[in-house]
Symmetry: C2
């Protein structure tokens, strides 16, 4: 044959055919790859099969495989390395660490924070937590409070809520002893990869306890960030409410250029 391929469209709708032309082939490939990631068949940090091999497995051309991988790379799910292969993104990579941390100091530099655990408790989801995490009210949850320091200054107080069922056996000791970021822990120990998050920002006033932790007076303004983090297929993983002292730092948001 010479090159055309319209037949592929029909190859997937052989019977009846009255149905619409559905999604293009590369969407199907994306879905298949996502499933392998979801199921843990391909794990974070590992290389996935080469493009020619995938083309064989999925019975499509290399060009179609490339188009599918292109999208997953754009979404930070995969990373390509010329000459080495294509890898499943890891939260231990620098570019990914910063992807979910948006606090910068006065001159715009991002520094990575030192984390200090203030609390680790088990409890039951209230109405708001349940709604945002897709749980039933009263479902068992783990709540964590972390203080983040930048250059020794306390800047962020995180209140984290996760579903206990999704992280069986998680203890304070495990949480404290983790080598990297929290998302790296979710990923390495529980196979839960945070790939997306939605944040809502508001200005609030510090209450006594929070103010004390962040070294500001009660009533001083703080930036509050409510984040819901998601894994594949938009499944919610974590609810995190951060309060930020923006006296010497700011939240950086870039619009456009791949945003």
């Amino acid at each position: 044959m010479t090159g055309g391929s319209g037949r592929r469209y029909n190859a997937r709708t052989p019977h009846g055919g009255s149905a619409a032309v559905q999604s293009p082939l590369y969407r199907h490939v994306i879905s298949q790859i996502t499933q392998k990631l979801e199921s843990g068949e391909w794990r974070s940090g590992e290389t996935i099969p080469s493009e020619p091999r995938l083309a064989q497995q999925f019975h499509v051309s290399v060009g179609t495989i490339r188009k599918a991988i292109d999208e997953l790379v754009a979404g930070q799910i995969l990373v390509r390395h010329q000459g080495r292969g294509t890898f499943v993104s890891t939260h231990s990579e620098d570019h990914y660490r910063y992807h979910f941390f948006h606090i910068v100091d006065a001159d715009g530099t991002k520094r990575f924070p030192a984390v200090e655990l203030h609390a680790f408790r088990r409890g039951r989801a209230d109405g708001s937590e349940a709604a945002k995490l897709g749980l039933k009210r009263g479902a068992p949850v783990i709540r964590v409070v972390n203080l983040l320091r930048l250059d020794d200054d306390p800047v962020v107080l995180d209140r984290i809520t996760i579903a206990a069922q999704q992280f069986p056996g998680l203890t304070r000791a495990i949480f404290v002893a983790r080598p990297g970021t929290i998302y790296h822990l979710y990923q390495e120990r529980y196979g839960v990869s945070v790939i997306r998050a939605v944040e809502r920002l508001r200005a609030v006033t510090a209450d006594g306890a929070t103010g004390k932790a962040l070294g500001v007076r009660a009533g001083d303004p703080l930036l509050e960030i409510e984040r819901v983090a998601y894994t594949y297929r938009d499944r919610p993983v974590e609810l995190r409410v951060s309060q930020v002292n923006t006296g010497h730092h700011a939240y950086l948001s870039e619009l456009g250029k791949g945003a």
Copy 2:
């Protein structure tokens, strides 16, 4: 010939050839297209030549043209419409209007604000403005203050600074009479297309005047957004400091999924 094309690499470095392989062809195409946009040869809202025509003009294959356009579409610079053509993005399109407006109400819905002009004055750039707009201190600027209402409630107070030279003949009347958004005005009347912006968010306390405009008490917390908006080649266009009453609204930020 059958298909290969490595020669192209050399075709662009015919003499000496000791130089590195420079950028790929599609980068060069992106640059050429960007220049046509920058110079105003292709204006916003207009269609650009078809892909086969561009391939001829630039002496590359359609595939290479497509790859270049792919990137510009991802960056919201161009918009494709199957069957109609490829168009230069306009700030009058809905998807673009919301691209630079991130305030949502309690249930997460974006509504477009009603704008009320509070001030329009000419002045000279102070040190901070000059630095952020790439001007010399004391350069002539225009300063605008706008109040944005959502469902009749005053929610955002914008203080805008632009270089007077870039917007010759701009008057209060023109500013008020514009049909669409401010960025649409920049684009339509002055050929200046805002395509990217960087925002820094902080929590501050309302001063008397701002509080009055937003219907809050002096000392209440407000979300302050400092935005620098850029056009092609990262040239700064506008400095905008917004103060937001986040009592019933929030700033929405999405991380991941093309961010």
